[in-house]
Symmetry: C2
Subunit: 383 residues, 2 copies
């Protein structure tokens, strides 16, 4: 049976990137590797829409978030954490671990954080040193309105730290225009690579903070050191075969064009939502991200059995809910190397399993509704 | 031209491991991946010679060292750092970054730390909470006598933290028998994998310290969390395709047998030393590691030109000295997937370049001397 990976990270890697990973291992302290790193950083800046440096780290995305907190905040500093799910919670936990004072703005699962709540929190805490938020909250499928957060934070001394791990390269993310000070992402989502690398962009405002911070409390994730080395090298041995393979995936992104990708993903997300809704399923996210679609498991259906059948009978790996959402939602990724026909396949799989489980639905309603979205966007029929 | 990688990390990766890296990306929160992780950890414990847990981290080896310091020491704690080169210095820098008080025992480049100096330091600082040392000091080619350090530290409250990054799987490392509390290694040396993963073993004594430490100051490298998860998972998305590929390299190690590997590497190292010495080169390390051989660049020879010729004319990448040793030494790795005939090739390459550069030497003296070592170890001739 053919295997199809639809989890919101890791996500599928193009064959030519996989083959790059199988090439013999080179040495990394060479002019050739420095050139390669430079090229990769340049291409990342294109995806980030930034003129600022982008730092590669050998870690999961969480390592990138830790680097942001540990380098930009000192113990006792206030940080407003906008929490719309598990990954927003991660910011709060990171702040706690580094002994800063998190001011939590929490919204119910499935909701995005209203920009007004951020404005209010900043008014109440004008001494906040950072605002931490999540662009695409992978645990609930919500996209937060970071475009609106940016100008609110820009006029304060606070830095805007954004987890764009499952967002960058999928949905619009205008790092510079939106005044994002540190924008974190990981390799295993839209960048079409296996996990192992994290990246973050660093604005001038963030860099000033980083350069001025007291030494100590950070070593492996020391951004001051990483930024100083960036022109030539990484401070420690990087996962350099992943970086070499990233070049291949990034070339694919550049060839397609980031705006074309945003539009395509937006269409695929609209099709996924239309498909699920036509089947009679309810969307979980009030403000859905275009990187993944999250739907509620309908009453009378066993969510775990649904996912298990999809995997065993059709070779499709979708994700369920995490923690308290386990069994209550299913999450379908459509980012990176997943295209419209992959989304169509996933909808067809879910439909077949739901029909088998006795869920009342018109056969083909989901795939037809999705197809409707794509047909509207397809080149017009010749007269 | 055929490329041959002889740097002491990264080192060559077997073809079957490379091909594993090119396989499609799976999801990692599954019973199958948990089983794979369990198997890999079990095989690592075999290589480590430990009954204790081995924690995988997605980072370079330095990340593993940071995890040891950040989890086992509190600010103000004294840590004796045995420094015989650049990587011993890294322990000191890590201790400083985490605001502990490093007590440095420094020996000149090329020397190993005499166990008596450790005993003396511990007598002077009976309140030391850790002893940090390097088994194979990759910057100088020295092997430290960790077997002797172990019993000295075991009778004190201090933990023995060992950087075995370029040692584990090459030279004897009896983690449990030598009373090593935390033994750190990286994926890109004898474990025959690209960089991206670090591992550390945790003794009962270290675990007690970790469990009791106050929360905070550590998140991504939180060993308490990693140890709690170890039976089932990793706290954050691991570089799981590297872990899957590691299984392949570890099976190779198990099939050969760790004691057989130690003996083989010891023989290859003896051959490399004999070869270089027969050419008239001087060893740099007074107590050489069997993972790499470091020789002084002879008077009248330009060290950088030598390395550059080796690379351009013969496709061989050896390493030079770092920092103040730049141009003064050359470093040849013989670990992991590098075998005796690879060592022979490297010796032949160095010989040819030295001859070309006018260094006086009998042609073939190096390769013949090395061959002599292997001939003595080869099966006896039939009568």
């Amino acid at each position: 049976m053919k295997f199809r990976l639809f989890t919101p990270g890791p996500s599928p890697v193009p064959e030519e990137t996989l083959l790059e990973l199988a090439k013999p291992v080179p040495y990394h302290r060479t002019p050739e590797f420095r050139q390669l790193l430079k090229e990769v950083v340049e291409d990342l800046r294109y995806v980030y829409r930034t003129k600022n440096p982008v730092v590669p780290l050998t870690s999961s995305g969480t390592g990138g978030m830790e680097a942001a907190v540990a380098n930009c905040l000192a113990p006792g500093d206030k940080a407003i954490c906008l929490i719309s799910g598990r990954f927003g919670e991660r910011w709060r936990n990171l702040c706690k671990a580094f002994r800063t004072e998190p001011i939590a703005v929490v919204v119910p699962d499935g909701q995005a954080v209203p920009p007004e709540q951020l404005a209010q929190a900043l008014k109440q805490h004008p001494d906040a040193r950072a605002v931490c938020c999540t662009l695409s909250e992978t645990s609930t499928g919500v996209a937060n309105d970071v475009a609106a957060f940016g100008p609110i934070v820009a006029n304060t001394p606070a830095l805007l730290l954004v987890d764009a791990i499952s967002a960058l390269g999928v949905i619009e993310c205008e790092t510079d225009e939106w005044h994002i000070d540190i924008c974190v992402t990981g390799s295993q989502k839209a960048l079409m690579l296996p996990p192992g690398l994290a990246f973050l962009s660093v604005s001038a405002k963030a860099r000033e903070r980083i350069e001025r911070r007291e030494a100590g409390g950070v070593f492996y994730f020391d951004l001051k050191k990483a930024l100083a080395k960036l022109q030539e090298d990484t401070p420690y041995t990087p996962a350099h075969t992943l970086i070499r393979a990233l070049r291949v995936s990034l070339k694919r992104i550049r060839a397609e064009g980031i705006e074309t990708i945003w539009a395509k993903q937006s269409r695929n997300a609209a099709a996924a939502r239309a498909g699920f809704q036509a089947m009679g399923l309810e969307l979980f996210a009030a403000r859905p991200s275009d990187g993944l679609t999250v739907v509620k498991v309908p009453a009378g259906i066993d969510g775990s059995a649904l996912l298990s059948k999809l995997e065993k009978q059709y070779g499709m790996k979708l994700a369920g809910g995490q923690d308290h959402l386990k069994g209550k939602i299913i999450r379908l990724a459509h980012m990176g190397y997943l295209d419209q026909f992959d989304v169509l396949a996933a909808l067809a799989g879910v439909e077949l399993v739901l029909l088998e489980m006795g869920f009342p639905m018109k056969v083909g309603s989901g795939v037809a509704a999705a197809q409707q979205v794509w047909a509207q966007a397809a080149p017009a029929r010749q007269p």
